[in-house]
Amino acid sequence: MSQEPKEIRLTIDGQEVTAREGTSVLDAAMANDIYIPHQCHHPDLKPVGACRLCGVEIDGRMVTSCTTVVQEGLDVKTNSQKIHQARKTAMELLIADHHMDCLACAAANDCALLKDSAYLGIEPEQLQRLRPSNKGLPIDTSNPFFQFDPNKCIICGICVRTCDEIVGRGTLAFIDRGFDTVIGTFGNKSFIESTCESCGECVVRCPVGALAPKRPKFAAREVQTTCVYCGVGCGIYLGVSGDKVVDVRGDRERPTNEGSLCVKGRYGFNFINHSDRLTKPLIKQNGEFVEAEWEEALELVASKFAETKGDEFAALASAKCTNEENYLIQKFTRAVMATNTVDHCARL
């Protein structure tokens, strides 16, 4: 596919829109500010058409817009009476099955379920006719960074697909079937006992509060930067409150990571304000570490380097450095220090 993707013209609710070949009708509509409710769709993942909320009418037939690819001349209706009724039934059923403790829920601000139920105008009286599920399943709090509440899970499968398609870990699966379906790990083990590497990719994509960070985020503003942990250089936004970093999220526009992060980049920011963190160099004097100035420390290192050449010297480079920095260390060790004894922490 080296050619330029073709532009397709179609009509959505009477409005002419264009979209790139291969785009879903749902994404095309959303890109043109036409809202279609959806729960199981995520732009990073392959569509499955499971929640049925994104139904639209094409040629009198109801199809799911997340699984329908745009075609030249399509005439899409997003809001016929028939569609509305089917969506309403699905939404009422979802809510009757959901543990609605919205006030205490980590997802409250950006919960897809709340958003779409408001969009569809679901009334409490309608819900009262239904029999609530009240599943009462145990919450898994084993992971240090996030928790899983199956009573809030809408079985959209976004987490399963994320762990498969994006992370490539395959920790999660649908377990059992039908109404009893749950999201789980091999042998229904807790997250901490499973193969999960705590990257949190699934957590950020969960549309509701089922997979949710343990630490609520109260960031007042965001600062765009680059993760300091390794040479990959993932783009991140630090969520800042006062002068403290309280949250991290991946930068979806950064080509290196397209929003993805690993466990360290996403959850490992505690060190920033940690009391044990070194902010000044230490020099050992009489068997004790004593705080020093940078100038002093660097001079000491340089003078020691001058004394030790050849096989007395070894260099251990770090994954926190960039490729270029690692190259320089290697070059310095061989050319200046005259030894080949150079290694890297990532090799261990």
Binding site: G49, Q85, T89, L93, A96, R129, R177
Partner: protein
């Protein structure tokens, strides 16, 4: 008449095997070893309830309910020109008349056995039997006389529609697959038959497996496929065994494998055993399951004809569809199109069960009425009870009341009536069947079998089931009926696959024809059929003779009374298990079920 040229046919379908027909065969084998009498075991004769069945040809003598101890008598009649064993004749439940041959039996007289023509006639484990009966002629014709396009044309012109339930034109489906681009294509046979109350496909596989293999091979030659799979449920061990034998023999005789019958056509078939999931009968789920996944259906398009198993063009048909094809190609499209109604050609195979005198497997031309099936073939309702409804289409279908008894049965008439042909279950319900309970039963089934992928089906079937459970257990609320209708509409319109799209049918059809029964439960504290425990009480009448049977059998110790005195039931202790009702001698018949006047059992619900 002499004993030679006689053939004894012993039915060994699953039904008769469970009634110990293999033991009877062993007994006959031992005694008749050195005689000229040929003993042949066959697939199902259809009259499973009368099993084990033994037929003696050429006369067609029909022995029902044969026991091992009857074997010597049968042997004697065969070897020493003895009289047939009249005692074992089939007795017509209506007229009480003894009928000596199957030609006399109305159960068979009204049928037209096309798909089942070999079932009960040939030994399913002998390919030569099938060939002698005209088998593999269709395949020969397909390979040497017809082009792939001509085969498709014949199937199209025959008017054959899929026997798996949907009734889609088989010829059209074949044409799509034929025209689909691709070097690798697959032919699949749907033998999942998960519909509870149906065993048509099983009987065909057990009784005439080669007809299915032949149909698949013809399909392979028409669409250009080399590989076929039969997806068969693991609950059918006998069918799987017979298929394995048939496939082995067909390979040995050159009907499967490379260079079939000397042509350059190559085609082979493998069996895939399902693992217990009704939804895997759905076409995309079936393919996804063969690929080694959870059998969760996927959105179509793409349709399997373009992208099916392993992403290749794939043809999927039902067992009976293939069994029809082998004969259609052999005998011609016109022959087939001459049977049935204008839009539904050929025959319909039904598993006739429930409250019916003659349970069993039957085949009738399309367009026959339920009345003919139930009364002429089925011998009427069991124990002379009053007919209430007939359920067709299983969990996707509905219940049709008396007023539909004279409507010709075909794909379209059943859909118009709110039911479905389905794959062919036909369950007769009588006055003792509660229609709310039947609806609850089917929802319980679909709720358990829903794959759980999509919201309307996963949560909707559960919601409807809970409401129905509430109704049959006395917790029904005003507004529930309307809610069921509303949910039913939303689930039908919104679900991803056929399971969810049809799951509300049993509820909607019973609401349409038997709404009063729902209302009786919700508003009048009453189960008119006296089925739902919550609404019934047991009472002992003054005609009690004091035999003490009920008292001794009551595990709740709720019954008191002296020997020979009238007994009574302590309603506060009664578990309503109904044992007293069951054990009270039929001549006395002093235990009565009542419903509707029970203040003590209204529970929390308001009694109106």
């Amino acid at each position: 008449m002499t004993a030679d040229h006689r053939t004894v046919l012993i039915c060994r379908g699953t039904g008769c095997e469970s009634s110990r027909s293999p033991a009877i065969q062993a007994a006959l084998d031992a005694e008749l070893q050195d005689s000229d009498v040929e003993i042949k075991f066959t697939g199902c004769h259809g009259m499973c309830q009368q099993g084990p069945i033994v037929i003696v040809e050429p006369e067609g003598t029909f022995y029902a309910n044969v026991k091992t101890k009857d074997a010597p008598k049968i042997v004697e009649s065969l070897l020493h020109d003895g009289e047939p064993v009249e005692r074992l004749y089939y007795k017509d439940p209506a007229t009480k008349e003894q009928l000596p041959t199957y030609h006399d039996i109305p159960f068979y007289a009204k049928q037209k056995r096309l798909v089942l023509h070999n079932c009960g006639r040939i030994n399913p484990e002998e390919i030569s039997d099938y060939v002698e009966a005209g088998g593999y002629q269709g395949l020969k014709k397909a390979l040497f006389e017809l082009s792939p396009e001509e085969i498709v044309d014949i199937v199209k012109q025959s008017g054959l529609r899929g026997r798996g339930g949907g009734g889609f034109s088989t010829g059209m489906k074949w044409q799509f697959c034929q025209q689909a681009k691709g070097d690798v294509k697959y032919v699949l046979c749907n033998a999942d038959e998960g519909d509870p109350g149906a065993f048509m496909d099983r009987s065909v596989l057990e009784g005439d497996p080669h007809a299915v293999l032949e149909g698949m091979a013809i399909a392979g030659s028409a669409i250009g496929a080399k590989q076929g799979y039969i997806y068969c449920r693991a609950e059918y061990p006998l069918a799987i065994k017979r298929l394995q034998v048939a496939i082995r023999q067909a390979r040995e005789q050159g009907y499967l494998g490379k260079g079939i019958l000397g042509s350059d056509f190559e085609f082979d078939i493998e069996i895939f055993q399902g693992a217990g999931a009704f939804v895997c009968g759905e076409e995309t789920a079936l393919m996804i399951s063969i690929e080694g996944n959870r059998g969760m259906p996927r959105v179509r398009p793409p349709y399997p004809a373009h992208s099916g198993l392993y992403g290749k063009p794939t043809l999927l048909n039902n067992v009976k569809t293939y069994a029809n094809v082998s004969q259609i190609v052999n005998k011609g499209a016109d022959w087939f199109a001459g049977i049935g109604t204008e839009k539904s050609k050929g025959t319909a195979v039904f598993a006739l069960t429930g409250k019916i005198a003659n349970s069993g497997l039957i085949e009738v031309p399309m367009g026959v009425t339920p009345r003919e099936i139930i009364y002429d073939i089925g011998g009427g309702v069991l124990n002379g009870k009053k007919f209430k409804a007939v359920q067709t289409g299983g969990p996707s279908g509905g219940c049709l009341p008396e007023s539909f008894m004279d409507v010709p049965v075909d794909y379209d008439s059943l859909i118009a009536a709110g039911s479905m042909m389905g794959s062919g279950g036909m369950v007769v319900l009588d006055e003792d069947t509660c229609m709310v309970d039947v609806a609850r039963y089917f929802l319980d089934f679909t709720e358990k079998e829903s794959c759980g992928k999509c919201v309307p089906c996963r949560l909707g079937t559960k919601q409807m089931l809970t409401i129905l459970e509430d109704i049959v257990e006395g917790r029904g609320k005003p507004g529930d009926i309307e809610l069921l209708e509303e949910l039913g509409g939303g689930i039908k319109g919104g679900s991803l696959c056929g399971l969810g799209q049809t799951a509300p049918n049993p509820v909607l059809s019973t609401l349409r024809y038997f709404r009063d029964e729902y209302e009786a439960h919700i508003f009048h504290n009453k189960c008119p059929a006296k089925t739902c425990k919550h609404f019934i009480t047991y009472h002992i009448l003054d005609s009690c003779v004091g035999c003490q049977l009920c008292r001794k059998n009551c595990s709740a110790e709720a019954i008191s009374g002296e020997p020979k005195g009238i007994h009574w039931i302590d309603q506060t202790k009664c578990h309503k298990c109904g044992v007293c009702f069951e054990v009270c001698p039929p001549k006395v018949f002093s235990v009565e079920k009542r419903t509707g006047d029970l203040e003590i059992h209204t529970g929390e619900g308001e009694s109106l």
